[in-house]
Amino acid sequence: MKVRMVPIEQVFNRFPRMVRDLAKELGKDIEFIIEGKETELDRTVIDEIGDPLVHLLRNAVDHGIEYPQIRRQKGKPPTGLVRLVARHEGNNVFIEVTDDGSGLNLDSIRAKAVEKGLASSQEVSGMTPGQVTDLLFRSGFSTAQNVTDVSGRGVGLDVVKNKIESLNGEILVDTELGQGTTFKIRLPLTLAIIQALLVKVGNETFAIPLSSVDETTMISKSDLKMVQTQEVVVLRGKVLPLVNARRLLETQDPDINEEVMYVVVVRKGDKQLGIIVDSLIGQQEIVIKSLGKLLTGIPGVAGATILGDGAVSLILDVGTLV
């Protein structure tokens, strides 16, 4: 099972060189940052995602980032920034390609769409910015004034979009003129296997993705302190806010009355938080299953998994749990 899950590093690793070579070729100065390359994805997805990312990165370098002298004129640092970020979020993996370049010119997209006969001029003038950027993904659309051998290979963003959609994902654009552009790819985790920590809360078992767990620890009741109404514990000199999993998960008996309590220290953004659970079961690889259309968007629940004994256990999403 584990073989199926591959860190996205495999794909990302070839990009720094590609970006550097491209930048050199074009005479641009670019800093390329990669984050979250340890994010794991299903191998089938990894195999497919390379080409769309190459396309987006080439776009960012070629059309996004301006030449150094133009950047200076605009009062930007001469070195352009291109970021490639991957992360897990709830039931999805997000991959973002961001540049701090010129941004998309919505008016020229409008004009181009009319010229290419994709929409009438009345239509485009009534469009919201989101609808305008959607035009980029129509087939037969390319805004580069001059076709270069870098990104103008006759393959448009429509191909990127089709590829992402064939993987059940979606692609969104966020842009601000003069500030830059972000392409955000969302891929579902339905096939995904992750490492998780299984814990007992009341008599129920829950899975916490290991990627959001920093550590587990044991505290005794006397270690608990109150800061106003917030329970905290001092862990190695740092104050750690605590929440009771039984309360969060609305179990029948909300109070844990043990002398010794187990705490899972999780990371939420850049903060740490301790979740008090009844007991720790252990670390295990789990297959993420979606809860389906009828149960989407429940805060704190990222999906479910089926344990060895056939029981269904919910996967907690730390980001939205508290």
Partner: protein, 141 residues
């Protein structure tokens, strides 16, 4: 109107029916995993041969208490387009053919909010079956 086949089941003391074409299978009640923060009417999720499927509690929705005898309780699993979901019922009796003209319009009988997922009232040999629209019942429509 043409004849339809319905799966007849009971919730509390009332008999209901759903179109057999929307039913995938009927299973015994398995272990149900509670889903915190889901709606009140969601009983939880079950493992149906490797698939995670939500199960609705219609007793809560209809405001009736479940039967004391759990022996006959079943989960009816619906397959509606690409979504599957189950409901817990107190018992499943049979599959009945109902003639189109033996079905009364729901509007005549019900005027409450609940009426939108009640398709009609079927009359079969002196029994009255509330015919439910599974799609509307599960909020898919």
């Amino acid at each position: 109107m043409k004849e339809i086949q319905v799966v007849a089941f009971t919730i509390g003391s009332q008999e209901y029916g759903v179109d057999i074409l929307s039913v995938q299978e009927i299973i015994k009640v398995l272990t149900i995993t509670r889903v915190p923060r889901a709606g009140r009417y969601i009983e939880g999720v079950i493992n149906l041969r490797g698939n995670v499927i939500p199960v609705f509690n219609l007793h809560k929705r209809f405001g009736v208490s479940p039967a004391d005898d759990k022996e006959e309780a079943r989960i009816i699993v619906f397959q509606l387009e690409d979504t599957r979901a189950g409901i817990i019922v107190d018992g499943v009796s049979e599959v009945i053919r109902i003639n189109g003209d033996a079905i009364e319009d729901a509007g005549k009988v019900y005027q409450s909010l609940q009426a939108d997922f009640i398709q009609g009232v079927g009359k079969v040999e002196g029994r009255l079956l509330l015919l439910l629209n599974a799609k509307k019942l599960l909020g898919l429509d």
